[in-house]
Amino acid sequence: MAAGSTYTPISTTTLGSAQSSVTFSSFSGYTDLVIVCANLKNAVQQTPFMQFNSDTGTNYSSTWILGNGSSASSSRLSNSSSGILIGDYNIGMSSTVPSTAIIQIQNYSNTTTYKSTLGRYNLTTTEVYAIAGLWRSTSAITSIALNAGGSSNWSSGATFTLYGILAA
């Protein structure tokens, strides 16, 4: 992860109760964004996704490499309306063991290119991921929703922090 001189906290949410989605909607003045999600648990084992600007069109894709402890593999999701994959696609997040996700969003405010992301997801009981994401939109990202997936919720105690990175 880049260690810029302006690793600035923009917003932090610590859940006091279970919640299906966390949204960041006020950020400007940076070139890149970093989201750190910690103590993640999912009450029902669903797969979490990230959406931008409330777009529910089939404009998201994700490619990942994962290790499950015995083998490595790679797969992808194309033309997804759910969003960019955050975590465990095959099994879903654990309801008991905490996991961590770190997501980088490059050049999020430009209005000429599609937006790409780089994610890392860590759950020691099942799988470790590196995830390349793409949102096929030239709109500046003005809101980010982290959805627990399906009918599931993020558990109480999960923390979500948005940082801004400013190019020198």
Partner: protein, 172 residues
């Protein structure tokens, strides 16, 4: 707004090497997350050494799951280990090259188990013995992290010019 990616401590190994690098007295306020960046090389003969990190001097309750590439194939493993572990280059590796690792530990003072993320690379410009690792780590302990000791396995020392940096990140 605040600049929060703050250097807490650093260490550069001098002539003669060092068996470990210790960060103690880690502040319990002012930061929420920790980042440890290690650039190291083991003095022992061979290629594949482990870089270990012990939280609060504990040698128990660590598990990890990893995926890594060697340049020709990809692999995965899981393990219960005595301290965080990743790969580190030994003395048989290409001269003047070091392995590099970044450990990201969110919410290090919380009373939850500590889930952390590790990225690790050793690149030798060689047909073999290169590695790029992605690791998920868990320390099943609710204690706040007050110290981190970084070592190589088998008692092998870090060579001169190995470095370790500890940064603090605040989410407010």
């Amino acid at each position: 707004m605040a600049n929060t990616y703050t250097l807490i401590a650093s260490s550069t190994v001098g002539a003669g090497g060092a068996s470990s690098i210790t960060f103690s007295g880690i502040p319990q306020t002012g930061y929420t997350d920790l980042v440890v960046k290690v650039s190291g090389r083991a003095s022992g003969s061979g290629y594949d050494f482990h870089l270990n990190a012990y939280l609060n001097n504990s040698t128990t309750a660590y598990t990890e799951r990893a995926v890594y590439g060697s340049g020709s194939s990809a692999f995965s493993y899981s393990a219960s280990i005595a301290g965080y572990s990743a790969s580190l280059m030994g003395a048989s590796g290409t001269a003047n090259t070091f392995g590099n690792a970044e450990i990201y530990i969110p919410n290090y003072t919380s009373s939850n188990y500590k889930s952390y993320s590790v990225d690790n690379v050793t690149e030798l410009n060689s047909a073999t013995n290169n590695r790029a690792d992605l690791l998920a780590g868990l320390w099943s302990n609710t204690a706040a992290i007050t110290s981190i000791v970084v070592t190589t396995d088998d008692g092998t020392a870090f060579v001169q010019y190995s470095t370790a940096y500890l940064y603090g990140i605040s989410n407010s």
